[in-house]
């Protein structure tokens, strides 16, 4: 259907002979090649795309593969070694329930990892120019060579004053609750946090998937742990404890993995349940944006007032569509200058031939959005077409910036301290987890300091430190 598939080969031929002749045969082909590119190929953020734009992930995906391996291996061992015994001895409902949980975990994990978290597309040159004009008027300065003071707008939402910050990368005023993820270099709506375990940001569009993932994973972990213990106990009653362990060695591995996972994952689920019921994001909670400590009149303007409505809104609210049209085709147009400040001089220079009634003349070089083909946003083909899902580049944990905390802590805490990993998003404020996580908090504080000292030693960690600083300054 699309000529994009045969593109590379044609590209080689034509680019070589383009200097010799200008035969009419070439230019339409060249134009066709350029026209056939999809928007994800020129996406300005630091994301990886698979399956021709259907799947979108962060750049560092090594930890995601680790998550996958852990879940698949543990569940696989459970179904292969423990379930036969348990199905016979107790009830065949055990593998059935386990299977349903596993299916749920994988479905939600893949949806969290592969979907667009709510990335805001960058401003078109015209928009950016218009904003700059407005800001200059408001500040009373002309555009000089120095970097102007930080630009903010104030909005009153439900009686609370909220500051909207200007994002210099995306050239937009961030909507309330949006934040710029420095790891992915995108502004994300209702930004919660960047999760290396799922290899993606968690934002407005995939927060519910993320929550269902950790919730179902909690159940699955507890389920497997409980039944592995049951299995070993039942066997020990027949053949003694050591023989039981010898007969099913896989159970030991599963028990170990589950034991260490349970604390962090159940803790994380509890934390996010608290966040959902108070309608806050991890970002806001860590910064204490709506806490009473900032002032008596400080309250959360987005909360609906009662827990049930907050939960329903977060989990059962409408799913907004992706605003970045990943799989749309780039409209062929005259080349545009890269700097958006030239927007004004471009007026009148281009008239596109697009036939869409609602389209503007295309004056931008970055991905412009055509109205999305429906029902595209929800469609991530998780099946056979994704052979291109490259497993060829799993980066080792030590070389990934966002694993700084994990590599530091491998000797201090077990591997899957997922909850603590998320809390390392800011060095300045100690996270204030709710009561049930108090056991984790003293460790968290020392971990934060540890991260800062070791971060300075390795240039690979610069990214994460920058990320930490940026996140805390937002």
């Amino acid at each position: 259907m699309t000529p994009g598939g045969g593109g590379p080969m044609k590209d080689c031929e034509y680019s070589q002979i383009s200097t010799h002749s200008s035969s009419p045969m070439e230019s339409p082909h060249k134009k066709k090649k350029i026209a056939a590119r999809r928007k994800w190929e020129v996406f300005p953020g630091r994301n990886k795309f698979f399956c021709n734009g259907r799947i979108m992930m962060a750049r560092q995906t090594g930890v995601f593969y680790l998550t996958l391996v852990l879940i698949l291996v543990t569940s696989g061992l459970f179904f292969a070694f423990d379930c036969p015994y348990l199905a016979v001895k107790i009830t065949p409902a055990i593998p059935v329930v386990g299977g349903i949980l596993f299916f749920f975990v994988m479905g939600t994990l893949l949806r969290t990892s592969f979907s667009d978290p709510g990335v805001l597309p960058r401003a078109t040159p015209d928009e950016a120019a218009d904003l700059e004009r407005q800001i200059d008027i408001a500040n009373g300065t002309s555009s000089g060579g120095y970097r102007p003071p930080p630009r903010t707008r104030e909005v009153i939402i439900n009686g609370q004053t909220v500051k909207l910050k200007y994002c210099f990368t995306c050239k937009i005023f961030r909507p309330p609750r949006a934040s710029h993820c420095s790891l992915c270099d995108n502004c994300v709506e209702r930004f919660d946090h960047h999760c290396p375990w799922v290899g993606n940001c968690v934002g407005k569009r995939n927060y519910r998937f993320f929550y269902m993932f950790i919730l179902s994973l909690s159940f699955l972990t507890v389920f497997i742990f409980a039944f592995v213990i049951t299995h070993v106990i039942l066997r020990s009653q027949q053949t003694g404890f050591l023989n039981a362990l010898k007969d099913s060695p896989a159970s030991v591995l599963e028990a170990v993995v589950c034991f260490f996972s349970v604390w962090s994952i159940v803790g994380l689920s509890g934390f996010h349940t608290y966040l959902i019921s108070s309608n806050q994001t991890t970002n806001e909670d860590i910064k204490g944006s709506w806490s009473n400590k900032r002032g008596k009149e400080n309250y959360n303007p987005y909360s609906y007032g009662n827990i049930i409505t907050n939960c329903c809104a977060a989990l059962c609210g409408p799913v907004s569509p992706s605003l970045i049209d990943r799989r749309g085709f780039i409209q062929p147009d005259t080349p545009q200058p890269a700097a958006p400040t030239n927007g004004i001089t471009m007026y009148g220079a281009t008239q596109s031939q697009s036939n869409m009634a609602a389209a503007t003349p295309l004056l931008q070089s970055e991905p412009s959005l055509t109205s999305e083909e429906l029902p595209l946003p929800g469609k991530t083909t998780l099946g056979a077409p994704c052979a291109t899902l490259s497993l060829g580049q799993p980066t080792p944990p030590s070389s990934m910036p966002n694993l700084t905390s994990e590599t530091v802590l491998t000797d201090m805490i077990p591997l899957k301290e997922e909850h603590d990993g998320h809390q390392f998003l800011t060095p300045e404020e100690a996270p204030s987890p709710p009561g049930m996580l108090s056991t984790g908090s003293p460790i968290t504080h020392s971990h934060t300091l540890h991260v800062l000292s070791l971060a300075s030693q390795d240039s690979l960690h610069e990214d994460s430190v920058r990320g930490l600083v940026k996140l805390s300054s937002v």
Binding site: F103, F104, G107, T108, R111, L120, P121, A123, T124, D126, E127, D130, V155, I156, I157, N158, V162, L164, I172, P175, P176, R177, E189, R190, R208, F209, M212, P301, Y302, C312, A313, C316, G317, P318, V319, S320, P321, L323, Y347, G348, Q351, S352, Q353, A357, A358, A359, T360, P361, S368, L369, T370, S371, E372, L374, P375, P377, G378, K379, T380, T381
Partner: protein
């Protein structure tokens, strides 16, 4: 009537663009400011413009409404581990289709005859309603837009940019 828009693009040149920003005073729901931009003062009646923006705001409120049907959709989707999104169009997407049809209609009937063009906010990240203002290249701005069009389509019904 689509000819009008094409004529607009061929015979008129883009003068400037106006951006109607989001109104966040009600929170993060999608609403646009109904404040009338001064640049449009000579091009379109204030009331028509405000009606268009208010209708759009109503559409978006409908799309983002949290209520019985959205709960149903959410619970059903959750129960299927969200696999149902692979084959089902969400309520939001349906409303977006309606919005895009509405904008097309408004462009054809109201805006293009006045030398204006509305861009669907979904193409601008739901941040702005971009309104392109065209100057008619072939005249001082008060003649009909199809006067020197070479497309040959009948332009008898086309109003002029300064048709008021």
């Amino acid at each position: 009537s689509g000819h009008n828009l094409q004529e607009l693009r061929r015979s008129a040149s883009l003068a400037t663009k106006v951006f109607v920003q989001r109104d966040y005073s009600d929170g993060t729901i999608c609403q646009f400011q109904t404040k009338f931009p001064p640049e449009l003062d000579s091009r379109i009646e204030r009331q028509l413009f405000e009606e268009t923006v208010k209708t759009l705001n109503n559409f978006y409120a409908e799309a983002e409404k949290i209520g019985g049907s959205s709960y149903l959709e959410g619970c059903l989707a959750c129960a299927t581990a969200y696999f149902i999104f692979l084959c089902m169009e969400t309520h939001y997407e349906k409303v977006l289709k309606k919005i895009s049809r509405y904008i097309q209609e408004q462009n054809e009937k109201i805006f293009a005859p006045r030398g204006l063009l509305l861009t669907d906010p979904v193409e601008r990240g739901m941040r702005v309603i971009e309104i392109s203002i065209y100057e008619d290249r072939c005249s001082s701005g008060s003649a009909s837009s199809g006067s020197s069009s070479s497309s040959g389509s009948s332009s008898g019904g086309g109003g002029g940019a300064g048709g008021r």
